[in-house]
Amino acid sequence: MSTTVAKLIDTTTCIGCKACEIACQEWNDHEFTIAPFDGTYQTRPDLSHNFWNLIKFNEIPQDDGGMTWHMAKYQCMHCVDPGCLAACPAPGAIFIRDNGIVDFDHDRCIGCGYCMTGCPFDVPRRHPESKKVFKCTLCSDRTAAGLEPACIKACPTNCLSFGSRDDLLRAAEDRVEQLREQGKTDAGVYNPPGVGGTNVIYVLDRASEPESYGLPRDPKIPASVWFWQGPLRWIGNILMVGGLVAVALHYLRFGPRRVEIEPDGGNPE
């Protein structure tokens, strides 16, 4: 069993330089595309099947006339209890690696898109043609070779770090303590329990307002996915097993169906 790895994003030191975005695009050989102007500093309004790492720019005017500008990187959170995996009907298409990375096997992906409904962070995106779904892999190809993910390699201010989850949780707590000592009493760690915690951990200087960083307040696996994974699956299993038993009984009773083969091969037009 290898160590569970994690990525720490200290939003208090993020300068919104987008080096992580470009590193992600280049490492994953993604095409460079031009998104229409949407009146913000953001590269594009949203993630896409070939854009997995997006810095969200949130301008927040303050009551005292001042400003804050929260810049926070958005990507797959690599949940400990991933909603995408819970929702996925294709065995092995979504799996958790030994080091905790939630990864997709596109040979097994059937393109149903259930993982998109299952993700409480709204991260996976479908390829418009193949319909298969894509997201950040936490550079599982790099980490397998002992390298840090590309975004972390590129970050100039060390706002991003990579390492064992336990170490980074401790580092996050230390940083929060430092921020609180500096008067930022609302500072905190974002590691939401609703998904069993995440392997992408944030330090926020306003932990009571995660939405201001573009993060959901209390992400949970949607009830529909729970229902699908729980009772519905049992009912389905019962119906399916029942069906199979009925088919077997039918075969035993009536034998195989005989079909006349047409001379031209019988291909329907």
Binding site: F32, G39, M71
Partner: protein, 791 residues
């Protein structure tokens, strides 16, 4: 930078003004973050725009573009009146005690000596004793001492006056003052990071003078964690500056003037007289620097019999100015025949683009050497490619300029040294060969030179000797290796051919040659010092003396003698620059004689005063900086309305040089780069283009509402020079300011786009004026007037 990037991590207060390091120097910004994370340093950002640096700062205060001197003058006033200056430092290391001529004065916006169009500097002088040394009053009490004159001059810069000029509130100003001036103690350090937000005004040199004064008063010059630190915009612009300009030879030697007809006269004029008995006055070695430079230019053709070839050097005629504004003004009047634009794109980066385009059309020929087809190379297509912005541009068929576009290698395709903001010469290696027919710069220059020399040799000419005399004895004359050139710049003994290791070994008798005395030590007998990669840091202060090499002499903090007191003890032992151990100075490479006792010389060894100058008569518009409005301003100068702008600013009066007024153009425009881009270059690169593809105009929310402009709407921005269209980015990050009782809005205009590239858009300099700083010749790109409406 007086200090360096790694040293920023040593500070207690990072004061960012006139720069935006988080966006424009994101890698260097890691040291700001280290200071914050490891030392709990405070980051203060004062800027017209709430930018990405502001987003991570502890305090942000808005201000009106072009009013920085008022803000900094206010800080000087605050430090003086709240007794927050580092007085022992000021007394020991500055000219505060020096007595100034009794006739010196300042009234209603002008200093003494104004003669209608320039200053007679007769009263901007020290009182001298019988030996010709400046008189001083160590008590700082004499009403004519610099300290008292400075107090009087800045008494007008109260928090209310600052607020009234800059548009912040007095309370906001005082919050900044409290943090910045908290460093005026031996155990506290503050650094200033600035960039083109300070250098691009019609009073920019004086602006930086004000910042230097503030840092001197707070004892922040020469000390680790202190300094006044310019962040250079291009990867090698520091190197370009070090190697000369129209009025400077390499190593900041003055270009000879026409009346300096002999080398002797030049040396006499350029050897300063010591103004204090203890001044080391290092520029008195100018003869050694100059003769060694001439030897590097002319080799065997430079001897004692011909003043080492001094007569070959061009001389500047009296009153001539060949800085940017004047070059293009002359060009626009048809007085220039040709232009070589090497890695330079004046159509995009010069002010007042319509004038640039018109001027290039008056040339007979132009050579553009670049790795892309730039707007300059394609200026003749402006009418076709961007006719809506250049209605006056000539039809391509009617332009006679012959344009040669020579493809060059880009930065990754050549070796050589980049000189970074920290003055570090870092050697790099070519990653790949230039593509196709592209050649490296040195090969293009060499082949041009050799062809021109052949023509002079074969056909003669008006003055063939300066070209024929040039020493070109490189191993491969058609493409000299940059390593060989670096060795020549470092310098060697002419007889033994041994590389020199310090400019202390340069001689004025022709026995040494050196291409730039400041770079002497970069390539020694021990090899290429710029290529060193040692990461040792024994003192823990981030000096990294074994990493690359920096001028001068690998000294990481300039003026570091000032980091110690009169006895040579560090002001702060935890952050000691250099300290006297009884026999030698230990720590950084000393900016002082290594074995001279602390009281032998003044601490600023380059200056004839031997100390730093608060009062400096070097500049054309006054010995103390004064707030002047930009050439185009929404208000008259609240301090002296009759003398509103810099009385010495440079502007032009041709038909293409109009200035606008606030009645027609009520808003203040600022120009800047975005972190996603590099200058006008990366619009040819798909990755950077993707990150910020669309030209936009940042519009204050309140103004947008009143004009009916919604976010993403198309808007038209106009100035007296031209117009352009762009998409509105409506934002609360640009706050309305109250200036002299009026509400002032600022419009943000990011530069990058042009009429060529993977993404295109208008050239922002369509709008900027032909107005320049009189000392540096830098254009006023920040703080000019525009209007805006919905398209």
């Amino acid at each position: 930078m007086t200090n360096g990037w790694t040293d920023v991590a040593n500070t207690d207060v990072v004061f960012v003004m006139g720069g935006n390091p988080a966006e424009n120097h994101p890698v260097g910004f890691r040291f700001v973050m280290q200071a914050k994370l490891n030392r709990g340093a405070k980051l203060v950002c004062v800027d017209p725009r709430f930018n990405r640096t502001a987003a991570v700062s502890d305090l942000y205060v808005p201000m009106r573009a072009g009013t920085d001197i008022a803000f900094l003058g206010g800080l000087i006033h605050y430090a003086l009146t709240h007794n927050l200056i580092h007085e022992d430092y000021v007394r020991l290391h500055t000219n505060a005690p020096f007595l100034v001529d009794e006739g010196f004065g300042f009234e209603a916006g002008r200093f003494s000596g104004w003669s209608g169009d320039h200053y007679d500097k007769a009263t901007w002088k020290y009182q001298l004793d019988d030996d010709g040394f400046a008189k001083i009053d160590p008590s700082l009490e004499d009403p004519h001492c610099v300290h008292q004159l400075m107090k009087v001059h800045y008494a007008r810069y109260t928090p209310d006056a600052v607020a009234n000029i800059c548009g912040c509130t007095a309370a906001e100003f005082e919050k900044v003052a409290e943090i910045v001036c908290s460093t005026g103690r031996a155990d506290r350090r503050g650094t200033i990071l600035y960039a083109l937000g300070w250098t691009q005004h019609s009073h920019s040199v004086q602006l930086i003078h004000t910042a230097a004064m503030l840092q001197l008063l707070l004892g922040n010059i020469g000390v680790p964690g202190g300094g006044i630190n310019a962040q250079r915009g291009h990867s090698n612009i520091q190197g370009a500056t070090d190697l000369g300009a129209w009025d400077k030879l390499p190593g900041y030697l003055n270009m000879p003037r026409a009346d300096e007809t002999t080398l002797e006269k030049y040396i006499e004029n350029n050897t300063p007289k010591a103004l204090r008995p203890n001044a080391l006055n290092y520029w008195s070695n100018v003869d050694k620097f100059m003769v060694s430079l001439l030897k590097s230019y002319y080799g065997g053709a430079a001897g004692e019999d011909n003043e080492f070839g001094y007569s070959f050097l061009p001389k500047i005629n009296p009153g001539d100015d060949n800085s940017w504004g004047f070059i293009f003004d002359r060009m626009s009047r048809g007085e220039l025949e040709g232009l070589i634009a090497f890695g330079m794109n004046p159509v995009a980066n010069g002010p007042n683009t319509p004038k640039m385009i018109s001027a290039l059309g008056k040339l007979k020929w132009m050579i553009v050497a670049d790795c892309f087809e730039t707007e300059t190379a394609a200026f003749w297509k402006a009418k076709n490619l961007a006719g809506e912005y250049y209605p006056g541009a000539a039809d391509p068929a009617s332009i006679d300029t012959e344009v040669f576009l020579l493809p060059t290698g880009c930065f990754a395709e050549k070796d050589g040294a980049f000189v970074n903001s920290s003055r570090w010469l870092q050697w790099k290696y070519a990653a790949l060969d230039p593509p196709g027919e592209a050649l490296n710069d040195q090969e293009i220059i060499a082949r041009l030179f050799l062809t021109i020399r052949d023509l002079y040799r074969d056909e003669g000419g008006t003055a063939p000797n300066p070209v024929l005399a040039i020493d070109w004895s490189y191993s491969n004359p058609y493409s000299p290796s940059l390593e060989e050139i670096a060795m020549e710049i470092n310098g060697r003994d002419v007889t033994t051919r041994k590389q020199l290791s310090t400019f202390g070994d340069l001689r004025a008798d022709g026995s040494t040659l050196c291409g730039n005395w400041l770079y002497c030590g970069s390539y020694t007998e021990q090899g290429n010092q710029m290529a060193r990669t040692g990461q040792e840091d024994p003192g823990g202060l981030g000096f990294y003396h074994n990493w690359s090499w920096n001028w001068p002499l690998n000294r990481r903090v300039l003026y570091n003698r000032a980091s110690a007191d009169a006895e040579g003890r560090a002001w702060d032992v935890k952050r000691s620059g250099i300290a006297w151990n009884g026999a030698r100075w230990a720590g950084d490479v000393p900016d002082y004689k290594a074995d001279a006792a602390p009281d032998v010389h003044g601490s600023f060894i380059m200056l004839p005063e031997g100390v730093a100058k608060l009062f400096a008569a070097d500049f054309v518009e006054g010995p103390f900086p004064e707030h002047y409005e930009p050439a185009e301003s929404p208000v008259a100068n609240p301090l002296h309305p009759a003398v509103s702008a810099n009385p010495m600013l440079v502007s032009f009066t041709g038909p293409l040089d109009p200035l606008g007024d606030a009645a027609q153009f009520p808003h203040v425009a600022i120009t800047y780069r975005l972190t996603e881009h590099f200058h006008y270059w990366t619009k040819h690169v798909s990755a950077n283009s993707q990150l910020q593809p669309t030209f936009f105009v940042e519009v204050p929310e309140v103004l947008a509402q009143s004009l009916g402009i919604e976010n993403t709407d198309e808007v038209v921005v106009t100035s007296a020079r031209g117009h352009m269209n762009g998409r509105a980015l409506v934002t609360a990050r640009l706050k309305p300011l109250t200036v002299s009782g009026q509400t002032i809005f600022q419009i943000g205009l990011p530069i990058h786009w042009g009429f060529l590239g993977r993404v295109t858009g208008p050239l922002v300099n369509n709008l900027s004026p032909s107005v320049f700083d009189p000392n540096s010749g830098t254009p006023e790109y920040k703080g000019f007037l525009v209007n805006i409406r919905k398209a």
